[in-house]
Symmetry: C2
Subunit: 498 residues, 2 copies
């Protein structure tokens, strides 16, 4: 076996082969993103000595690249929700998140997340994260003002609104522009830096875990300055190394849905799945590996919501007021060679100015018949779909797909069809949603549901509260990363020394 084979994530090092420890601490954390940073703070505050190993030259991870609209609510509402007049119930939040996660929902994890969400809000405020008591009403993917609260999912859309009272739960940081992620990580970093119990070692790659004869995780092997170091973790190792959006082989093997034409992985270059692989190699179960966030970010402008999405049979297939990721998931389910977004010329004018989507124009029509013909659709089929839709708009009720009444305005020619077929030019960001199976505490579970002693995972390396493309809402990733990081940090800090 070559040296490189010995120190790849699939081969844990055996404790009995360790002749010396190069570092010793209570809690070892892999990765200084949102999860790893919050884990370090909590572990230190619980009295543990902590070393964080970060691959990059600086902390931040994918959280720093995100908008960081943290998904929180329940318990009558966070301070911001209450100030903005929203009384959010924990049960509504649980119901919504359970529907989002679908058959693979982890109810214990979701319930814990919702029940402790207002406490998490307070913790964030306490470490210095600023939230303004204001509501951003316009439909948006991210809030570009310093306002806080916005709807960031499908809360107001069918079928969610029919089962859980809608409430905005995305909490944007008090900062202008799309700068929530950098600000969030700056604050986390400051909190890490000011705690003497935490050491961060940058430009250090975690290679593989160290296990004892009973399968207890006893430490971590890292590479620093071309040298391998053995790091003893007296209480536990927390893997916070992100997902695997940047690992093409893993995507092909585990998440083929994400290998769609035109798909662009988002996150930081370290999202290579190494944390998940290290966990699997010591018996941790990786679950939900096939799922990911995959989106066609068709708004802003919010007015796009008034358009309709059709396949090349001229049929709608989704209510167009859902979260953009849910629309993306349903686009991928169509047996169709083309998918179009149909909007009026006025709506197109707005789109041209501010869209992230970048979908090219497929056809325009002074009449519906002309558009239909230019798109090469079966004669009459789009005319029929639009007649049904416009009739529904006039009655204020989308009888087929239940788009909410506020978005129902008849689409009158001239019309524009954007080509949103994957691979034809539209921007299709994706990232992974599978990872190590964990208890709500962050303890990693094996395939039989037993704890792998000494091992914890949080953030995207774990399989968290968000489980499906069709049920994603913005803020659930940073929400889950920061919350699950905290829990894992505390659990590890309080673990028995081994």
């Amino acid at each position: 076996m070559s040296d490189s084979a010995k120190t790849n994530p699939a081969h844990p090092r055996k404790l009995r082969d360790i002749t010396q420890w190069d570092r010793e601490t209570d809690v070892v954390i892999v990765g200084l993103g949102g999860a790893g940073g919050c884990a370090a703070i909590e572990a230190a505050d619980a009295g543990a000595e902590v070393i964080v190993f970060e691959l990059a030259s600086a902390g931040g991870g994918s959280t720093a690249m995100s908008s960081a609209e943290i998904y929180m609510g329940g318990n009558g509402g966070t301070r911001v929700q209450q100030a903005c007049g929203f009384n959010d119930s924990t049960e509504d939040m649980v119901t919504y998140m359970m529907m989002c996660a679908g058959p693979q929902a982890d109810e214990a994890k979701i319930r814990n997340y919702c029940e402790r969400s207002s406490e998490h809000f307070q913790w964030l405020v306490d470490i210095g994260v600023p939230f303004k008591d204001s509501f951003h009403e316009e439909r948006a993917i991210m809030c570009l003002t310093d306002d806080c609260l916005l709807y960031t999912g499908s809360e107001k859309a069918y079928p969610f609104a029919q089962h859980a009272k809608p409430c905005p739960r995305g909490h944007n940081l008090q900062v202008e522009g799309d700068n929530g992620g950098p600000l969030f990580m700056k604050i986390v970093q400051e909190n890490v830096d000011k705690r003497d119990a935490i050491t961060v070692e940058y430009e250090t790659r975690a290679l593989t875990l160290i296990i004892d004869e009973d399968g207890v995780v006893a430490g971590l092997v890292v590479r620093q300055d071309l040298k391998e170091l053995n790091v003893r973790a007296r209480r536990g190792v927390i893997l916070c190394a992100g997902g695997f959006a940047m690992n093409e082989e893993m995507l092909r093997k585990y998440a083929p849905m994400l290998t769609v034409p035109g798909g662009l992985p988002i996150g930081n270059p370290g999202d290579t799945g190494s944390g998940i692989l290290m966990g699997m190699a010591v018996g941790g179960a990786a679950i939900n590996m096939h799922e990911g966030f995959i989106s066609l970010p068709y708004y802003p402008p919010a007015n796009m919501t008034r358009g309709i999405v059709i396949n090349d049979k001229g049929q709608r297939f989704i209510n167009e007021d859902v979260y953009h990721g849910r629309l993306g998931a349903f686009v991928l389910r169509q047996q169709a060679e083309r998918i179009y977004f149909i909007v009026t010329v006025e709506q197109y004018g707005d789109y041209e100015k501010v869209s992230y989507l970048g979908a090219p124009v497929a056809a325009t029509g002074e009449t519906v018949a002309e558009l239909e013909e230019e798109l090469g659709l079966h004669e009459g089929i789009l005319q029929h779909s639009l007649a049904v839709y416009n009739g529904d708009c006039e009655r204020g009720q989308d009888s087929l797909y239940h788009k909410a009444a506020e978005w129902l305005t008849p689409l009158e020619p001239p019309l524009v069809a954007l080509d949103i077929t994957p691979g034809r030019g539209a921007f299709i960001p994706f990232f992974t949603l599978g990872g190590l199976d964990t208890k709500p505490t962050g303890e990693v579970l094996n395939t039989q549901g037993e704890i792998v002693p000494g091992l914890f995972a949080a953030g995207r390396t774990a399989c968290g509260v968000v489980r499906r493309a069709e049920g994603y809402s913005s803020g659930m990733s940073v929400g889950d990363a920061s919350f699950s990081g905290r829990l894992a940090g505390r659990q590890a800090a309080e673990a028995q020394v081994h």
Copy 2:
């Protein structure tokens, strides 16, 4: 740790803890189904001593419960294909199977399967499997006569037929009724029994693997008559223990798509995933775990193919001449509260007599408008869909979903709508398609694509050539089980003694 925990699949036993061997042999095989039986025969024929451990009181596995329409072709055609006038090309077979498997296709495995398919046919003939040189022309799920060759997939349907020349590749055994599986396993069993090098021990449960300090699989722990036995495998252990259709917890965790209302797991009670779990516990990668075969077996009668399937928006969404499993997969993708199968009264008459589907009648109509109203559909929408479809039938071209011309006859009232919504009464069989990642040789791979020494897997315990609900064809399971079993048997028999 309790004794039961020590001997569950997630905890491999360590070689150094073995104080005595209760059995020793060259090759240990877990499970006497199609894969395990063929593995045993090949291993013995390659000179190895073999012990097979079977949980049940008799061999057979899920293969004995199947129709055993073995999927074979290529190389100009098997003897039967040629006799029936079909000249099957390997490239067409590869193209078809690659499209079936989609983005998660294992090209090396598929190519190997297709290239050696005619040789596999000959091997089956040599061990005594009878195939008649005849063609069963009618569209069927299984051949109830003793004829051999039939179309068992979507070969003649869009989009497959547009890319690979259609050819029937399902090979039914020469036996009346749905008795191919029992006959196949009877022949395999006879071959096993007559080889002195093979011992079979029934009513014996495989508990966990035994590994040495370097992670080499050295044997297997089994339980027999309430006692645990340590079994040494000098050359290797082959896991042929089926899939996990019978393990509800694993389904929920790994294959939530299969937890659909009304779904019925098919296979034998031993399909609990224990082989996959044992392999994962020694570092084997489990891949494609989310996928399964899931079907609405809507034919026979073949005439059902002339009907149309619609959602509760009155829209078709699939060409109805595809394999029944592909239709099942697309039904699950709809955002709809009801799915209907619309047929004429005459077609319904045939259906009543022979259907497996058992879908209840949702509505009938002397006119389309009446049917539409009874179904509670938006006014005019089914009338429109049927007008388009019937017009296409008259022109002999399904302009929307490309159903082949041979099935296009206008649907004239009176009409019947069957409710095929999952959970509303229709029969929805399913089984799993995920398993251990293997080389075409059957060697199990870890998460980094390296071989786990001493470990092999075949049949449903491995992730084989079939990868998706939407791309399944009958005969691919028994074809893959028997073929992959053979390759693993030979590879293990020829492995170095360790």
